[in-house]
Amino acid sequence: MDESPEELNILIAGVGGQGNLLASEIISWASVKQGFKIRVADIFGAAQRGGAVTSHIRLGKEVYNPVMPQGSAHILLGFEPVECLRAASFLRPDCTAIVNTRTIVPSSVSLGQASYPPLKQITAILQELVKKTVMLDAAALAIKAGDALMVNIVMVGALAGTGCTPIRKETFIEAITNLVPKGTEQNNLKAFNLGFEDVQEKLDKTGILTQTS
């Protein structure tokens, strides 16, 4: 049994169909495996239909409520750039934001009713909002691992790569092996490692994550 953190809040923000819920389950499963008390809320209406989906993951001795208050996320795992912006009110100023740069353009933009802000602007706002941001093209890494669907596992790898949680790399690997569909374990572990390594390369010499983009 590992010593539980006082309180650690991880927010996953993405779009239905990106596998955010499986990512949430993997992180939660790994947390329980290491003996942490955990409360998780998956917040979605219809998960697979292109709407905004968030998961609130809360670890800690005194955590009872699965839905985190505003301004309390220590880590943002952003599956899609504008979904990170939508989650802004939940972020602590000292939050670490891990952001997949691959955009999913909403129909409101294609129909000309709204515009998608440039990635530069999104990055600038995020860097103002939180202490550290790390950007990666998780979709490209997922395709490299064999399937575009594995963006979620790349992102879990990126989370592990930051070392911002008390969950060990081997526990993440055990969780993934347990929870992904049978027969896809090898590709998923490849995706995990690609995410992990990408973020590790972005750490500085002391192993600390600095502002990157």
Partner: protein, 633 residues
């Protein structure tokens, strides 16, 4: 979706990660449930899925029923034969089950019977946010309402015991924040003995007809004192005395919000908290609290049920106590709560200075949220329903009788209400498309009337309405959006799929056979992936004098992709030839595939390689013939 049989683990005392709905399933399994029934509906669906995943191993019968009324009746049959049974459904499903509910309360049960209602405060995945605690009060039945997942499991086990002790069905009220929460839950022992079903004839008890139901209602009323005693003694209700400045009452998930808010605001020594987890509400604890404090603030979702009860107790006990909550506007009058709302209410009532977020950060957050373009729920890329809508739109246009009125229904295709499809003019409840469509027709509405309904919904609630349309000679076209799954709730099978909840093959109920048997004069099946044929058939259907039924049948794209993945078959993706694309945007603004995005810089359409499912409908939609297969990925 439930992927594994974790709820069947025998490791007593082990702490494992469970979904709220899995905690209910585990509780039922620990209680030795033998029959489980349900109709899929968010946020309840995973309960039956989880039980079905262990049904063979543990000897439990599990079924997806055709609708919630039938589901509850199946559970009733088992319970009055002495077997423990559970029926789970979303809150609006209980509206269907209400008919048997208001009779089974009078006959009572022999085996424990649990009716699980999964409410949706805030209506995130439903047409309303009705509070089903009202049903327990109206049917005079005990109800339990958990605040967290461990308690959800313990309550489920206990519910079967008290159901048998009281000989009454028990209701378990969950909300979406319980159903779709995950937490570590400690496992208990699984009760393995299986009872033999035995129905003892007793016509004065089981036959609820005029004359015989009168004494049974007296029986139910006479039991209420006993119910209050048994339920009041359950360990789930708790008075936590801290201070006398304010009494807080909270039920369900609101209790954990209060717990966090009290901690954050350092109110431990200033307030006392009463956790209400049962209905009837524990009267003695309410009395104790209002003896202690002069103001009570109540947090509950969604109706002011506890609030009104506390007022009654205060009146009966002649207590001068200020009772505040939803009715007084100290808690928002509708919708779900969260910890921030609870903190706001507490700060207002106690005149606390709530530290505001610095203004520059507030502005930054506001800016971030404002520049994020809105994201509406949309039909998936490759969805057969999108093709059906496009064909229907074209057929109505070619009919040249002006725009049609589309009476809508509940399912994935309800998303056709959003732009750019915009073809759902009404939406009420399961099956209402056909009933409301009949009303438009009989009232003399001039436009063509098109009722749109899904396959599972048609079998759930559409059949009596279709018979009504035929019988009363409505002028109506019914389009059945048949994707061969209850897709919106997670791809559960239904009678039209020929597969049961536990994966066994069974007789496939064909919607076209049902429609013909209902007497519809025009019944045709089309493949929406073949637009030209589909449009032609729809035109004929729309021109038919009387009730026409068109079944537009195409496997749900998620199932298609899953099958392809399993078989290792590559999906052939489509691409736009920019030499031919003239930027007319028909594919985006008329068809509305989310994989097709507009490249503003060159004024052409691009197909997203990650989202494209290779259905090929866009190639038929494009007037410039600019879309073609891009070579298999």
């Amino acid at each position: 979706m439930v992927k594994s049989d974790v709820i069947g683990l025998e490791r007593v005392g082990e702490r494992i990660l469970l979904l709220g709905n899995e905690a209910v399933a585990r509780g039922a399994v620990e209680a030795g449930v033998q029959v489980a029934t349900s109709y899929p509906g968010t946020p309840s669906s995973e309960i039956l899925e989880a039980i079905a995943s262990v049904s063979r191993k543990l000897g439990i019968y599990a079924e997806w029923s055709t609708n919630e009324k039938v589901a509850f009746e199946v559970a009733i049959g088992a319970a009055i034969s002495g077997v423990r049974s559970i029926s789970s459904m979303k809150h609006v499903g209980v509206n269907w089950a209400a008919d048997p509910l208001f009779s089974i309360n009078q006959t009572g049960v022999v085996g424990g019977l649990l009716l699980v209602t999964a409410d949706d405060p805030g209506a995130y995945a439903s047409q309303n946010e009705q509070d089903n605690r009202n049903y327990a009060l109206a049917a005079e039945l005990p109800m339990l309402e958990p605040a967290d997942l461990q308690e959800t499991k313990e309550m489920t086990v206990k519910a079967f015991d008290i159901s048998e002790e009281l000989e009454l069905p028990v209701m378990l009220r969950l909300t979406a924040r319980i159903c779709h929460a995950r937490a570590d839950v400690t496992l208990g022992p699984i009760r393995k003995e299986r009872r033999e079903a035995k129905f003892n004839k007793d016509p004065m008890r089981w036959v609820m007809m005029a004359g015989r139901s009168r004494p049974r209602h007296k029986w139910l009323r006479d039991r209420q004192q006993h119910v209050q005693e048994v339920v009041g003694a359950l360990p789930f209700n708790r008075l936590e005395i801290g201070g006398k400045e304010l009494g807080i009452i909270a039920s369900g998930v609101s209790y954990v919000y209060v717990k966090e808010a009290v901690k954050k605001l350092n109110l431990d020594n200033r307030v006392s908290v009463l956790k209400v987890a049962t209905y009837p509400i524990p009267r003695t604890l309410v009395t104790k609290l209002i003896d202690l404090v002069s103001t009570v603030l109540i947090f509950e979702e969604v109706d002011p049920i506890i609030e009104q009860y506390v007022k009654t107790v205060a009146f009966d006990d002649k207590k001068e106590v200020e009772i505040r909550g939803r009715l007084t506007g100290d808690v928002q009058r509708q919708w779900d709560l969260n910890v921030d709302l609870v903190i706001d209410s507490l700060a207002r009532v106690l005149n606390l200075r709530n530290e505001p977020v610095p203004e520059d950060r507030q502005l930054l957050v506001k800016k971030a949220v404002e520049i994020a373009p809105p994201r509406f729920l949309a039909l998936c890329a490759g969805c057969p329903h999108a093709a059906t809508y496009y064909a229907l739109k074209r057929a109505v246009y070619k009919l040249a009788k002006g725009p049609a009125i589309y009476s809508g229904d509940i399912g994935c295709y309800t998303l056709g209400a959003n732009v750019p499809i915009d073809m759902q003019d009404t939406n009420y409840c399961m099956g209402a498309s056909i009933g409301v469509g009949c009303g438009f027709s009989q009232a003399g509405v001039k436009e063509p009337i098109v009722a749109t309904i899904g396959d599972s919904t048609f079998l759930h609630a559409g059949i009596p309405a279709l018979i009504n349309a035929v019988y009363n000679r409505a002028q109506l076209t019914v389009v059945v959006f048949d994707n061969r799954a209850t897709a919106m709730t997670g791809f559960q099978p239904h009678p039209g799929t020929g597969v049961t909840a536990t994966g066994e093959k069974t007789r496939e109920v064909l919607i076209e056979d049902v429609a013909k048997a209902c007497g519809a004069g025009f019944v045709e099946v089309v493949d929406p992936h073949n637009l030209e044929d589909a449009i032609a058939v729809m035109r004929r259907g729309l021109s038919f004098d009387g009730v026409s039924v068109i079944i537009s049948r195409g496997q749900c794209v998620r199932d298609v992709l899953r099958d392809a993945r399993k078989k290792g078959v590559a999906t052939e993706l489509y691409a736009v030839d920019w030499e031919k694309c003239n930027g007319c945007k028909v594919c985006i603004s008329m068809f509305g595939c989310p994989a097709m995005t507009w490249k503003g810089d060159i004024k052409k359409v691009e197909i997203d390689e990650v989202l494209c499912a290779g259905c090929g409908v866009c190639a038929q939609v494009c007037p410039m013939k600019a879309v073609s297969p891009a070579g298999a990925q």
